[in-house]
Amino acid sequence: MLRSVFLKTLYDQRKAILGWGLGLSSLAYLTLLFYPSVQRAGEFYDQMLRSFPPEALAFLGNIRSFATMDGYMTGSLLSYLPLVLAIYAIGAAVGLITGEIESGTMDVLLAHPIPRWQVVLEKYSALFAALAAICLIFGLSMLAGGLTIGSDVPPGKWLLAGLHLLPLTLFYGTVAFALACAIRGRTAAVSTATALAVGGYILNGLAPLSERLQPLEKWTVYYWYIAGRPLGDGIIPEHIAILLGGSLLFLLVGLVAFGRRDIVP
């Protein structure tokens, strides 16, 4: 586990991976257990849904019915889950760089014969792996929930729905990571990435309300996530490509910035 910066970093995240993985998983599993009863009372819930103001619907992912698995899971969990997981992604990303600089261990690390770009890439890979692992655990727990309630959603779709969280949370995490690479202190990185995550979600929810905001909807990062429906009409590969491409771009910014900066606690 101490063979490389990548493995050490991943090893350091083990408790977080387990904690977040299991936390989100139990949420998913419990949510799924309620699906049969919601589906039976589908008309009741959908009437409630129709009485919601449109802005509330937007915050629930604009679902049309609770009686479908896609509508139910998106409305009760998947619409806001990336925001929850972003807390981990942003915190971990900033911790990996700024945390290590502020504690002073980055000095020792960079005094070894390893180039700065490699430190950045290995740490980023570990962040990626940790997020992917959490999403996978989440997908597996949905699969388990689906089997428990005898759902006809095929296993691959559950896993896909879990991994579908990855591109967006990775994007938020990467923004924080890049800023941590570039700028001293935690404030700029954490607040920018958090503003992006929360702001995008809110803007996406409010956009349908106003004609002026409407065109902005498609420009929030969140939109590129929520428009894809792994349990419904399917994912949208172009959107995923945009999110992953955006992450790559920020990673490059982080690589360049970290190579040039002063390491000052």
Partner: protein, 298 residues
């Protein structure tokens, strides 16, 4: 002539508008122990972090082992060992694990060397860093800096917080490094250890390198204080004329004297009287500095 192990030219670092170091030009030759002296805030750590490419110069150049640490960083750091001034290690790992990780990043470390250094320093490698005292952490840091037998060892105030016995071991280790023709650069604000260990010293004051001297040269200018306790009051005047004596005050039968350079003429002059006791004080850096500042040092 061989290339200097460390060479800086007009090295300058500003943190924003605040001064780090200014125009430091310095050469350290292979096989010497070079002491880098200066009070807190003088710029010792700044210089060392520039050498290691942790921070980048505002102006000026650095060469380490003939290479540019910014461009050839990996090659340079393979051959350099570093102990930071404020050493931080991963608190949850044991000493053994920290060294294992460091050894993986280096690839050319022998376990025997780690064991040898740990035995010499009596370091406990099994306990988590978190549970170690400052001095015991420092031991792990010293092993990490030395375990690959670097050609150049850079230590930032390595003895602060070490107990005296361990300090002695470190001094011995550094002398061994020198005997093997390797080079040591270490910063300190403690004159006696620099005197004991170093071949040459550089003195840094408010960011500027104000002197580079051999240790014997520095001893020649250091001002020492001694008290002569005599069997009765004496006239201090004749002592003022003794070569090297800078200052004499009498208090009862005790003379407080400041001497620069050799003690010999003073001791001979004192021998004219009945001396009950001689109290000497380690020359402190402050006073060594003052000699330079007054310009009467050479």
């Amino acid at each position: 002539m061989t290339t200097p192990v460390i060479q800086t030219e007009g090295l300058t670092k500003y943190y924003g508008r605040s001064r780090g170091i200014i125009e430091v030009s310095l050469q350290v030759e292979q096989g010497e122990i070079f002491g880098f002296l200066g009070p807190n805030g003088a710029g010792k750590t700044t210089t060392i972090r520039l050498l290691l490419d942790l921070i980048r110069p505002t102006r000026g150049h650095v060469r380490l082992l003939g290479l540019n640490p910014q461009r050839d960083g990996v090659a340079v750091r393979q051959r350099v060992g570093y102990l930071p001034g404020e050493l931080a290690l991963y608190p949850d790992l044991t000493g053994q694990q920290v060294l294992e990780y460091a050894a993986r990043l280096r690839k050319n470390v022998s376990q025997d060397e780690i064991a040898r250094l740990a035995a010499r320093l009596e370091a406990d490698l099994r306990r988590p860093i978190r549970t170690l005292s400052h001095g015991n952490r420092q031991k792990i840091g010293i092993i990490m800096a030395m375990m690959h037998r670097p050609e150049l060892l850079i230590l930032d105030e390595p003895t602060t917080g070490l107990d005296p016995l361990v300090q002695q071991v470190l001094y011995e280790l550094l002398e061994e490094v020198r005997r093997e023709g390797r080079t040591v650069f270490f910063s300190s604000h403690i004159l006696p250890e620099v005197e004991r260990l170093c071949d040459r010293v550089g003195i840094l004051r408010e960011g500027r390198l104000v002197a580079v001297e051999t240790v014997s040269g520095l001893k020649g200018v250091a001002v020492r204080r001694i008290d002569l306790v005599l069997d009765g009051p004496v006239d201090p005047q004749p002592f003022r004329a003794v070569p090297g004596v800078r200052e004499v005050t009498a208090a009862g039968s005790t003379l407080h004297i400041a001497v620069q350079g050799s003690m010999d003429p003073l001791i001979k002059a004192a021998a004219q009287h009945t001396v009950l006791n001689i109290v000497t004080y380690e020359p402190n850096l402050e006073e060594a500095f003052l000699a330079f500042y007054r310009g009467d040092g050479r």
